[in-house]
Amino acid sequence: MSVLRFDSVSKQYPGGHQALVDVSFEVAEGEMLFVTGHSGAGKSTLLRLIHLSERPTRGTVLLGDRNLQRVRGGKVALHRRQVGVVYQDHRLLTDRSIGENVALPLILRGTRRAEIGKRVRSVLERMGLGHREKALPSQLSAGEQQRVGIARAIIAQPPLLVADEPTGNLDPTLAAEIMELFAGLPERGTSVLVVSHDLPLLRRMRKRVLVLDHGRLVDDISPQDLAE
């Protein structure tokens, strides 16, 4: 069963720029994969289509069995709750504590307060941030902030997590730490799609890699091929 499926998806922006051309791929349940390519290859557009910040010009995007073309109006928000997102710049709310930031997806779902507190503490422990729950984002290092971003993305146990250059601002050691965290998510039932152009990191991770070039999916490299 696939968690995410792109079926001949093309995206042309109003100015005429063709960001994606006939892209098709699937993400299996519990899979972790990377999407790579040069700047302007269409990586960000791909994420925006998954997250419904944009809609395809042609083709179909399916999350589970839901055709995203049919997700409209108020249902866009409901859809976004099903996809965890991690950004390179973390996008944490600076005037709220780490605990409050991480709790947001659960608050949006209307989870009970006691349950929110329990799950926030649990996920922060997993991220090694159990002692920083009351701290503000500005009091954390870049690596810690990224871990908060991941904690926020996974706390509601979404079926799919997408990450946009999540290690772009981190040194190699921190980047490896963050990737290890991602690598542990499929075991917990969350598929992970990471956009990255860090080729050494991709080689080390030995996961499936989709290569985009000028909007076209030019390669789909399996972990075995990558190892070879």
Partner: protein, 318 residues
């Protein structure tokens, strides 16, 4: 790879919809109050501008109500004064009064003899010596006729036709003019209320717009996390409610203070005219209506601005 199947957020985690609704409203209420209190000067300024804008039409409306109340009591005295000719004797005047009392359009007739009129004039004018110098009473007999029914003018016309009548005093024209002035004043108050209410609405809208601008990034993050329009809009709506409540209370306070300041001089003025007229302010019910109105105004301003913002930030719906 072994894939453990982990449960998705269990249904038991999610309380009932009304509970979620209540929780999120309480959260927004507290959060918006926190924002208001964290920026006391900005809040005070907004509330002060709104409060003043609302106090003006409210004050004028109260003044108009008081004028209407006052003139209402004046208008109730619909008496028509019939000054009889000097040669009409007292018994003829009494006969005439009797005849008039028999008319269907007359409620009552009172006779004021020349002697009574002179005594009253002497007392009221302070010209006793000058009157004594006249040698004779120059004042005629006066019949004070209280009409019954609505057509006072017809009765006045009939009284003017009486051979005994020298002059009939009927203030219909004055009353019509007063009514017209009151109607005009009332309309001015209505127009001012609409204009200044719109001004208050714009003040709230602009304040909320600035607040939205300063929190644009935060709103963007919430939208990406799957916050509904309602969730994003709610704290701003409560912000509008707080502004409206503050402005309403300030407007009522200003009106109350103005009423207190005017009460004594007005009482002295009306006492000098022998009137017991006292300024009537807003009772609890009307104050409550004003507060509900200003709260709605704040809410509407915030709702309009957030609605516009949310429409702008929706994903492409092509």
């Amino acid at each position: 790879m072994t894939r453990a199947t982990h449960a998705r957020p269990a249904v038991a985690d999610t309380p009932s919809r009304p509970r979620v609704w209540l929780d999120q409203h309480l959260h927004s209420l507290a959060f918006s109050l926190g924002r208001v209190l964290r920026k006391p000067w900005a809040t005070l300024l907004t509330v002060a501008v709104m409060g003043l804008a609302l106090a003006l039409p409210l004050g004028l409306s109260i003044v108009m109500d008081n004028l209407r109340h006052f003139t209402g009591s004046v208008q109730q005295s619909r008496e028509i004064g019939v000054f009889l000719k000097m040669d009409v004797a007292a018994d003829a005047a009494a006969t005439l009064a009797g005849r008039l009392r028999a008319r269907a359009d007359v409620a009552a007739v009172e006779i004021r003899t020349p002697e009574q009129a002179l005594a009253g004039f002497r007392q009221g004018s302070g010209l006793g010596e000058a009157i004594d110098a006249l040698g004779q009473n120059p004042l005629p007999t006066l019949l004070v006729v209280v009409p019954q029914g609505t057509d006072d003018a017809a009765l006045a016309g009939a009284l003017e036709a009486l051979p005994e009548a020298d002059l009939v005093q009927h203030d219909a024209l004055w009353r019509r003019r007063l009514d017209a002035w009151l109607g005009f004043g009332q309309r001015v108050v209505q127009v001012l209320s609409v204009l200044l209410g719109l001004g208050a609405l714009l003040v709230v809208g602009n304040t909320v717009r600035l607040d939205i601008q300063s929190r644009r990034e935060e709103i963007g993050v919430l939208q990406l996390l799957g916050a509904s329009d309602g969730f994003i809009r709610r704290p701003f709506l409560y912000l509008g409610v707080w502004y409206g409540l503050g402005a309403g209370l300030l407007a009522l306070g200003l009106i109350g203070a103005a009423g207190l300041a005017l009460r004594d001089p007005l009482a002295a003025l009306s006492a000098s005219y022998g009137s017991a007229f006292a300024l009537k302010g807003l009772d609890a019910l009307h104050s409550g209506v004003v507060l509900v109105g200003t709260i709605l105004l704040g809410w509407l301003g915030a709702w309009t601005v957030t609605g516009h913002f949310l429409r702008q930030t929706r994903p492409t719906e092509t």
